[in-house]
Structures are given as structure tokens and as C-alpha cells.
Symmetry: C2
């Protein structure tokens, strides 16, 4: 299976690595909106092309993996490229999924291609855990916790504050909230009650005590991002940030807690968790396994837009039906 | 969707309860090989029929849930009833799955029905976690732990020892083994190194110290079941066993631990666990959600044998595609 990558940032690089780790896949080419000659990929011999020439390479690719941002790029790119390619994206702007799905579905059906949107770990694998949990325990409650891990959006928000040179924000689940859910106590919890926020901040050179106090206050009072959360701010040097906070780890938990029995007398707790050294590398691994799935589904004649809910797990595996029944059932 | 139950033991009762908890399903009837007039079901108005008259009720049932044992019943029943019904079973004799699959597939294809075998939590939900884990992290290791929970087979094995009146055996995961896997240490572990066995035994009245010593020795040395395990034996009164060990709780853990990154420099640990007050009630809930799925797949024209790997998660849910994308993605 020949994979094309559009967008060579952290996620694009992750897809390249995932292709290397999946022997039945091969990287055909990478497309960038930067100057292609300035982009060096890791895989020997793989060409980098200008994104505007992408249609010249239509026949070299089985599935195009879109590695751009959800805010402005993917709403345009996924429906556009579904006209010419089987495509997969990690669109994660929840409120806009119905509209995005409809646009992509229309384009992919017209062109007889297949598309899979909102793939990764959340949305993606966590969504799968939610649907299985809801269907098995219809009378129950869902809990999703994120972290411990680096939130890119929150780190960016801190960097936009005047006087901040660099920053890294960790989202951390509250242990007592995890314990209560795990014990089947079905607590009512807001996102703020489930998570704390820890910030590592590099101030501009020459910052005074007053500057630092103002930065800390601005972080802690920032609406939507930090206000109402238990937030800790640590000021560190640029060297310390680079040394101790260079990685992009992430993870989280999905719980389904529910009742069975004639009088709902039995408690059940389902817990799923991810502990990931690299968020983009894992997301990319999920994308490549679902790329395999949709390529097969398209070969069977399926077209239009799909989500992870529409993919039978057997399609994800390079093994045959006999093999997966023998080794994994 | 009209459900029929064949076999009204713990699992059959569990299916009845799961039907009650799924408003889009309804219990049509129960079939038993016992005297039907001696079997009292919980659902008002639901008839109990003799299993030998099952074909008289062919048109009253959308999916027949087979709640018999894997050892001798299901290998005959599932292919036989797939001639007349959409069927689902929880066949769990791993080595015989290929043969069972082939027999059921042939019968179901000929009759244009659909069948799902080996459904429950292991095989079943745990199998799903294994396939997702293997496909997302192709370079990694699988770990399955069972318990803490009651093992019916091991409890029965103790009851067959001379001088034992009743017994209950708990399988318990070894905490240090769980911790090592969770920490990404990828230990090599046998089933014996992953689990301990705790036995609660009621001796026949008038048992001497010598009898108890012999029973304990026979348990601990029993090949396959206990030999090589860290096994603890507690003698208790019949009342204590009834009071403290009447339930059938179970559960377990599935881990996938694997590497991502260009040089496999990133560790990832995926953990899934179940903590179930009632093993048969949960297994039955899984069966009913997959019964919904195969009924829909059959209405779309699909026939033959399936496993959980072949079912797209969306089929399990009573909600529409729009609803699941809005609420669970």
C-alpha cells in the first residue's frame, strides 16, 4: 500500500515513522506547502513535492494522509482531496464534525473514493472505547480524562502572553477523581474537576518580579483555557525547558461504568488508558492502520466518508481472517 | 428485535436481563432441555418451550442466543441452529475455533443466515482490544491477565476431589507482574507467573486434620489446574461460603506495549481492564449488543459466520450514524 503524506510537521513525520514500522506499507511521497527543497525527510529516496503539484502524482498513491491542522486547513483540504484520492484525516473540531462529514462524503462518493475523518486517539481510539462501552453497558456513565500530557493548544496560549518566550503546559488528571470513577462511585465531574494544569514558562530576558507575577496572573485567569482550573505556574530557564520538557508525551483514560442484572444489582467498570511517549507518533500509527483499512474497503467497492465506527476491526490487520482468529480471538 | 434464548442457566438468565436493559430488544421465548414447566423465567408472559420443539417457533425469533457449554453442546448446536436462525454463541474452546467457524459458516451460508461465534469478554471484547493494539502498535507485546474473579472450571475441579462438599476458586493477577507491564518493562511472563489461585473449600462433615491436609495437597498438586501456581487453600464452613462467596465476579486486563518513532525511541502502553460484579451478566450484555449487530448485517444481506473482528462498531449501537458521531466521536 502506497502512502502519501500532505504536511510534514510532527504528525507527518509520525506517519513516515509508522510507515517504516508497517512492512506492508510504503511511503510514496511527501507534499509540503513550504519550499520542497528545504524539507528533508527521513526515508531515503522519497521525493518531496510542492503541494500545488499534488494532482500530478495522483496515480502514485493509494491513500493520502492529511497531516494539517483542524482549525482552517482540513475543512478545505479533506473534501478537496477526496475528489482525487482515498484520504484520511485527524479532524478534531468536535462541533464541526457533522458539516465536515457531509462535505467529505459528497466529494468522496462523487469521485468513488473513500475517506475517513477524525481518526487518531481522541477522536479515534477513545471514540471506539466509548461506543463499545455504551453498547455493552447501556445503563451507565462515560468518563474521559486527558493526560498526563502536553497540550499544544494550551502551550500556544501561554506563548501568546506578553513577556513569554516559550512555554509548555501539561494537563494532568486528578487522582481522586480517577479513583472515584474506578471504584464505581459514578461521581458528577466537570472537566475542571477532572484535570489540573501545570505550566513551565520561560520569561523574556530581563523580566522583573512584577512581570512574572503579571504573567502568572494572566495565565491563571485566562478564560476557557485556565480560569476555574487548579493551575500551577513554574518559571524556568530556556535550557531547563529544552532539557526537561522537549518531549510531547500524552495519554488519558476512558471509563464506562454501568449496571447489569434484573434489578441493576451488578456494578461494572470498564477502564481504558493510553500512556504515550509521543502523541504525534501514536496518532500517526493509528492513522496508518486505518489507512490500510479504508484502502481495502475501497478495493471492495466502498465509497464515501467513514469514521472509526464504520470500520470492522479485521480491516485494520495485515493478517488474514484465519490468522487473526487463531492468534487474537 | 426479537431474541430467543436456548439454555436457561446463568448465561441465559443474563441474556434475559440484558434484553430488559436494551429497550429496542424483546424476549420472544426461552428454550430448555429440562422440563419446560419446571423452568420459571423472570419476564412476565414469556413462554418456555421444550428445545426439541424449537423449529415450531422459527418465525418468532430474529436472533437465537445459544447459552450452552463449549465442551460438547455448542460444537453441535451452533451449526445445527444456523440452518434455521441467525445465531450467536460464546464458544471459548480456543483450539477448536477454526473447525467451529468452518462448520457454522457452511450452515449459515446455505441457509442465508448470519452467525457470530466466540462472543463475550474473552474471547470477545478482550479479542477486540488485542486486535486494535496489535494493529496500532505492530512492534510490541500482548499481555492478558484474568481476574480477580471466580473461575468456574477450577472451582469444579476442586469439587471433584474426594471429601470436598463445595468450593470456590479465585484467579488473581500478580500485582508485581501488572506493575512491570504497566511500566513498559516488557517482562517475559508465563500464565503461572501472572496469576495466583485462592481456594475456599468446604470439606464434608466430620473431616479430620488428615483429610484436610490431603485435600489441600491434592489441590496444590493438581496438574494443569494448580501445579506450578502460587495456590492458597482456606477451609470454611458451608455458611461462610454461601455468605461471602455466592457471587460470580470476574474481570481482567489486556495490555499492548509497543514502540513508535524512527528508531523505535518512544514507548507506549495501552491498558484495558474489566471489573465485573457478575461474569455471566456482563457476557450476556456483550452477546445482546452483538445480536443487534448481526441482525442488522443480515438484513443488509450478509450471511455466513462472523467473529467480533468482522463487526463495524456502529452496528452495535441503537443510535443512528449522525447520533453516534455527535455523541461518541
Amino acid at each position: 500500500m502506497k502512502i502519501g503524506i500532505l504536511g510534514y510537521g510532527n504528525l507527518g513525520k509520525g506517519v513516515e515513522c509508522a510507515v517504516k514500522n508497517n512492512p506492508d506499507t510504503e511511503l510514496a511521497c511527501v507534499f509540503t506547502r513550504r519550499n520542497p527543497s528545504a524539507v528533508k525527510v527521513l526515508t531515503p529516496g522519497v521525493p518531496v513535492y510542492d503541494a500545488k503539484d499534488i494532482l500530478d502524482h495522483k496515480d502514485e498513491i493509494d491513500v493520502l494522509v492529511l497531516c494539517s491542522g483542524s482549525a482552517t486547513d482540513l475543512p478545505k483540504q479533506t473534501p478537496e482531496y477526496a475528489k482525487y484520492f482515498n484520504v484520511i484525516d485527524s479532524f478534531d473540531t468536535h462541533a464541526r464534525i457533522p458539516e465536515h462529514f457531509a462535505n467529505v462524503d459528497k466529494a468522496a462518493k462523487n469521485s468513488k473514493h473513500i475517506a475517513l475523518i477524525s481518526c487518531g486517539w481522541d477522536p479515534g481510539i477513545f471514540s471506539l472505547l466509548r461506543i463499545y462501552g455504551n453498547c455493552i453497558l447501556p445503563d451507565g456513565q462515560d468518563y474521559t480524562f486527558w493526560g498526563p500530557g502536553v497540550s499544544q493548544g494550551h502551550s500556544d496560549a501561554i506563548r501568546r502572553i506578553k513577556g513569554v518566550k516559550d512555554a509548555r503546559q501539561y494537563t494532568i488528571p486528578v487522582q481522586s477523581a480517577l479513583d472515584a470513577v474506578r471504584a464505581g462511585k459514578n461521581p458528577e465531574l466537570t472537566t475542571r474537576q477532572k484535570h489540573t494544569r501545570e505550566c513551565w514558562v520561560v520569561a523574556e530576558d530581563g523580566a522583573t518580579k512584577e512581570d512574572l507575577d503579571r504573567i502568572e496572573k494572566e495565565i491563571k485567569e485566562m478564560p476557557n483555557y485556565f480560569a476555574g482550573y487548579d493551575t500551577t505556574v513554574h518559571f524556568v530557564s530556556e535550557e531547563e525547558l529544552k532539557k526537561n520538557h522537549a518531549g510531547i508525551p500524552h495519554g488519558g483514560f476512558v471509563f464506562r461504568s454501568g449496571k447489569t442484572g434484573w434489578n441493576k444489582e451488578f456494578n461494572n467498570v470498564i477502564e481504558y488508558s493510553l500512556n504515550l511517549d509521543s502523541n504525534p507518533a501514536f496518532t500517526a500509527s493509528v492513522l496508518v492502520s486505518f489507512a490500510r483499512a479504508i484502502f481495502r474497503m475501497n478495493k471492495e467497492g466502498q465509497t464515501g466518508c467513514r469514521t472509526v465506527f464504520d470500520v470492522a476491526p479485521a480491516y485494520l490487520s495485515p493478517l488474514s481472517g484465519e490468522e487473526i482468529r487463531a492468534h487474537l480471538l
